[in-house]
Subunit: 767 residues, 2 copies
């Protein structure tokens, strides 16, 4: 573990004491977001120490020119990345002419940050002695409104403790910002208009290349000694607009600045009326006022928690961890817009481009399906349907034809953004996850309509890809898939990755099955789809031949499927025998050494056993788990959760709990020593799965919820809610057993440890 | 074939007619060099059309910061690249105030370039009508002196044809130059001192980071109407110095400018006395004069040709091709300095960094050994001995220990410069070529002393590497080498590349053998080396175990060793069945598609059959050739020569000749459509091998030269000379048979078609 400065608390993330070395980590951990925008926990006032500035707007990205050593045919020309957006939070403070800057203060006491997850606000407070000897106390509260998602609010309360002074508070907007991960130091923003209007300011700027038009806006008011302070005439530069509240403050007196700010964007407004739209929302929120707005915030978060909370008794750190994960997921994506998706770092950093990965399908959809509703999950599926044509183009670039679709590894708008050949061209199993999510959605929601309406076309494109991507090996007399990278990215360009071959076969079979079902049940849709895709029976016969004759590497000696051809040629030394000094491998070993080692970054063969667990016996799972887990280094944030679920299934609750701890507090305790770059948002959904699917053993079998609840030894109890086909079920697991409480009007039968249990609304059933 | 504008000629490369689209290609083809410096055939006067400027100084490079998409542990921090050096050739011409610029001339007639390979000079002549209607005629002759290798000379003769005019000729130096392949647009040169002194000018500049100090110098004189013109006072800017010769020229009158220029560098002089050194060489050459200098040039080239020429009768294009190759090799490296080596593009372009590859050991050493002498070959071996410590450091970076050495893929000073993991970390067979060159050197020269003095230490480092790099596969019960890239770079990260495994085994065995020999014959050296390397018998026992139990992939069905594990799983469609539109694959296919195809970029398994041909029967060669060649796309310039030699050995002279044509005129006919970037210098040595080892079948067997001469049908005869252990043998092959002429004083026995032939000095023996 790297850090443990976060104070354990059931509902809040708390930091106490000022430590400059923690500033960037805390900027990530105390990030706030509302699905439409996000803000790292940067200070409002000047900070001259190391800091990583980050303000982000959902769906606003920049296609940065690809940077590679040697260009390879088929590389995308750009890497779309989330943009550091114009700064709206800034409030510079100057006292007797000297700027307040915690980096230069001679003393900082009672420094405290709190991210109140229950109510959705963030507060920072401190007492500091400035170089000029002036002692100040500040309490700064900030939130991004869930209800008015274009706006954030800040209350900056400043007291001067030891003398009478002159204070200037200068709220500002700044579009002269940069991305730290810029490839070529390009300008990302073009500022076109700066307006100052009384207590309000506006900067219109559009992104280069993508031309997203945005208006960054603010409105600020101030009170000193409970009397309003008027702003003096605003200042403008090429990329900045600021107001100044100048006032005298007596010793012990307080200055309070209220600032509203945020963004209006052309995804939601006419691009010529962004200032108008900004004025409207400012009129609205300023009428409600800071305190009123905070009330709506508390209410909105209460609604979210009402459905998505997991309560844990007896383990405050575990409780804090799971709530942090659920909170961050909801800060990132709320399911209201099918044009948006869930970036691996959400709105908390630049890395991974804020783009969409297969993480969404493999990890996030189950969380959103169960804690929101089927519409939200459907929106995430539709996101990929909307990108189908681009996926077909992407496959064409790589030489595939006839409507074969390869979904990108990383994308903003459907185009591939990634540019390492071993990933971009070879980590093609991602295509399988897109199909699996369709299956998973129907399995959970029972809503078949998505398949005839949209899903089937996606399934056809994917089946076509696998059919063309496999080739017949005369030598083996079977179909093989050569040159791939599996989920375990510590192997590149391998042949017959079992997981890839397995999901390829499954994708084809599932597509054929759905074609039959749609043909029978939705003849009009069928006709439309056949007309559009020109699919013939000859073609599906060919698909079938590939699926029926797929090769799977297998070791008789070990009784396991092999991760890939040749796996047994490696030096099979378990991770436990590696010196600690050589971990993490990705920081200590050269890439070739990692590649030829047996070490596994994240579940690979076991990912297949997770997705398709009903295809295998528990004994088979045990064998594979015991074979592969000892070689697994879990150096991906997506690794521990799958292993936790499987360990729980195998009744190894101690091991399951260890994996759970690692996933739930990955960022809070900074296991990977990189939290300052941002949080691992998508893997947070894995933490939720560890409890719900792992400890509670939730499965959908034959349209019914099933549970096999277990409790980690250290816990007294846990409980969570599931929205299953629009019925809300609360599950509580204690040392004594488990109980189930159904809301709504209809009864529902579930299975607990294989036994059928009939639940009536309002009744709590012990099982 | 892409182009055929080069006029066939036995001794010259000739271009006739001005075509702007050919300027960059011709700049490469007409490049001149003298081993110490090189110059693309850029125009002396201004040219505003597309051009690729290039002046290069041997051994002067810049470590450009590595550019990659995603950094991988173990990557080198920089890529050393040959530098575009300050321009010394420039002579701007202005007539009646208008600059002479062939790009703006309204008419260009009788444009001609000639690169006279026999005598080592380059001449460009033309008649042009300028936009102001003035008609001029120019003849410009240029060469880089072999004798005074810091200097080049230019004679610029200008006539005005249609009126009386005012002419200004402005010879200049310019250090404000850039590399086109710069990764980050860094400045590569820092100009520190500019001096103008009468008819001379000097620019002192040093390279950034590497701090190579250089002085670029010039001296110019001019005559008009046979009377000397005095230069007016010189002009200086931050990076430029120029002289001006202003004169009136009557219609039909001639202005002649003589310019000497070049570089003095701190590899050869005190860095504080570079201008002094420049003045000295200028004193020397100006005293000799342009014509005198040209005479020494003709003499020096005659000496080179005397030994290294291959004369072909009956095929002028083949003759031109082979002489072009021999000429360029000699322009690039003359064997006088063990700090220098042979870059794949020599002094003709920027690409591939002008650095050293395994090409030197695999292709160039045989040429230099046979056409120069053993000292030259030894200098090339010593280059690697000097880099042994860096090779050990390089291996350490990748996790190897105990003095294991991995020579870099690309280097300037012994450090690795390459940064694609599949090459840098995995194309480790290069280490084998370094060891093979030591064996090859001894086989050819009979000079064993290199091994105890230097070679054995290299062999130990390399053997240690292979021992550590192989691992025991419990599954196979043999040693395997996982995760490599073979010579065929169209496969990456494969397991058990046969060539790599084979050369690894050979390296270990050869090292052990030499250890024994040195122990017996050179006990003092042995003691020194053991003391230095701490080699024990326990360690060599371990090496032996690896060599004795190395695994080699083999197909019983086909009776061939497999290029790598899993090769037979590919779709084995021969190249002949690929549509032409899909070639070359590296421009038409995405990288993943190339990787999973069976197509071979250059000899891989067959490279092993070339190096170790005496380990295999001719029947085995035939089988492997027939199996692999049909999948070979020869998209590396290093591919055709090995195949040509093997086809000749198999008695397939038609095929051998086809391969020969492809290699010998690769650049002249621009097969790869990239000649404008520079010439393929190292593969030119392969062309020489195609004739000497291929057609003439030269081999060294048991300390004797062997020949099995054949003649391509189209040719009447060919002849070449070999310096075999300081005896010069001239071999002539005609339709009637072959003849052998020995110079010197001692007799020598050779074998021709297996028959022993005793040669007496001065006698020509028919065989």
């Amino acid at each position: 573990m790297n850090q443990d400065y976060i104070v354990p608390d059931e509902w809040s993330i708390i930091e106490e004491g000022f430590d400059k070395n923690r500033v960037k980590s805390s900027e990530s951990l105390f990030s706030i977001g509302n699905g439409a925008m996000g803000q790292r926990a940067n200070f409002e006032e000047t900070y001259s120490g190391p800091t990583f500035q980050g303000s982000y707007i959902a769906g606003v990205y920049y296609p940065d020119k690809t940077r590679v050593g040697w260009w390879k045919n088929g590389y995308p020309e750009y890497f779309a990345k989330v943009l550091n957006a114009p700064n709206w939070i800034g409030i510079d403070i100057s006292i007797d002419g000297e700027p307040l800057d915690l980096n230069t203060c001679t003393k900082v006491d009672n420094y405290r940050r709190e991210l109140n997850m229950k109510e959705g606000w963030y507060q920072r407070s401190f007492e500091a002695t400035m170089p000029n000897g002036i002692e100040v106390k500040a309490v700064v509260t900030r939130f991004l409104s869930l209800k008015y998602d274009e706006v954030g609010a800040i209350k900056y309360e400043l007291e001067v403790l030891n003398k009478d002074v002159g204070v200037a508070a200068m709220p500002y907007l700044d579009s002269g910002i940069k991305n730290e991960d810029s490839n070529w130091d390009d300008q990302f923003w073009n500022t076109t208009n700066i307006v100052a209007d009384g207590s309000r300011g506006f900067i219109e700027a559009h992104t280069m290349k993508t031309n997203f038009a945005t208006c960054t806006f603010m409105m600020a008011t101030a009170e000193a000694h409970n009397e309003q302070v008027k702003p003096s005439s605003p200042q403008k530069t090429d990329t900045k607009v600021s107001l100044t509240f100048d006032t005298a403050l007596k010793k012990g007196g307080k200055l309070t600045v209220i600032k509203y700010g945020g963004y209006t964007v052309d995804r939601n407004h006419d691009k010529n009326k962004l200032i108008e739209a900004a004025n409207e929302v400012l009129d609205k929120v300023s009428a409600i006022g800071f305190d009123g707005l905070l009330q709506t915030q508390k209410k909105a978060w209460a609604d979210i928690w009402q459905m998505s909370d997991i309560a844990i008794k007896g383990d405050v750190k575990a409780q804090q961890g799971i709530r942090f994960n659920i909170f961050q997921l909801n800060q990132t994506y709320l399911g209201t817009d099918s044009r948006l998706n869930i970036g691996p770092k959400g709105f908390t950093g630049e890395k991974y481009g804020g783009s969409t990965y297969w993480d969404t399908e493999a990890y996030c959809i189950p969380f959103y399906m169960a804690t929101k509703n089927q519409e939200v999950a459907r929106r995430l599926l539709k996101y990929r349907y909307n990108h189908l044509e681009k996926a077909i183009e992407n496959a064409q670039k790589l030489g595939f034809e006839n409507g074969a679709a390869l979904y990108p590894m990383v994308t903003m708008n459907g185009e591939e953004c990634h540019n390492e050949w071993e990933i971009t061209f070879e980590e093609i199993h991602r295509n399988g996850a897109i199909a699996f999510a369709i299956y998973n959605y129907f399995r959970f929601t029972g809503d078949y309509s998505y398949i005839p309406e949209m899903g089937l076309e996606v399934l056809i494109g994917i089946a076509r890809f696998w059919h063309q991507r496999a080739n017949f090996s005369e030598h083996k007399g079977q179909y093989v898939i050569l040159g791939v990278t599996g989920p375990n990215e510590y192997e590149n360009n391998v042949n017959n990755n079992w997981y890839t071959n397995y999901i390829a076969k499954w994708c084809i079979e599932y597509a054929i099955e759905q074609l039959e079902k749609v043909k029978e049940g939705y003849p009009d849709d069928y006709k439309r789809i056949i007309g559009k895709t020109h699919l013939t029976e000859t073609e599906t016969e060919k698909w079938k031949k590939v699926a029926d004759n797929m090769y799977f590497p297998y070791s008789k000696e070990h009784g396991v499927y092999l991760q890939q051809d040749g796996f047994l040629d490696k030096e099979l030394i378990p991770v436990s025998e590696l010196p600690k000094s050589e971990r993490p491998l990705n920081q200590k070993w050269s890439w070739d050494r990692i590649l030829r080692s047996p070490y596994i970054k994240q579940a690979d063969t076991l990912q297949g056993f997770y997705f398709f667990e009903d295809h295998f016996t528990k004994e088979e799972l045990r064998k594979h788990f015991d074979f592969y887990e000892p070689f697994t280094v879990h150096e991906s944030s997506l690794s521990p959760c799958v292993h936790s679920i499987q360990a729980a299934k195998l009744g190894r609750m101690d091991q399951a709990y260890q994996f759970y701890l690692r996933t739930s507090r990955l960022d809070l305790d900074d296991y990977n020593k990189e939290v300052e770059e941002g949080l691992h948002i998508t893997s947070m959904a894995g933490t939720w799965m560890s409890i719900v699917e792992g400890f509670a053993g939730m499965r959908i079998i034959e349209d019914k919820l099933n549970f096999t609840p277990q409790l980690p030894e250290k816990w007294e109890a846990y409980s969570f809610k599931i929205n299953f086909r629009n019925r809300i079920l609360k599950v509580t697991v204690t040392k004594e057993g488990s109980s189930y409480e159904l809301t709504g009007t209809e009864e529902m039968s579930i299975r607990v440890n294989g036994q059928r249990v009939v639940l009536k609304p309002g009744e709590t059933i012990q099982a």
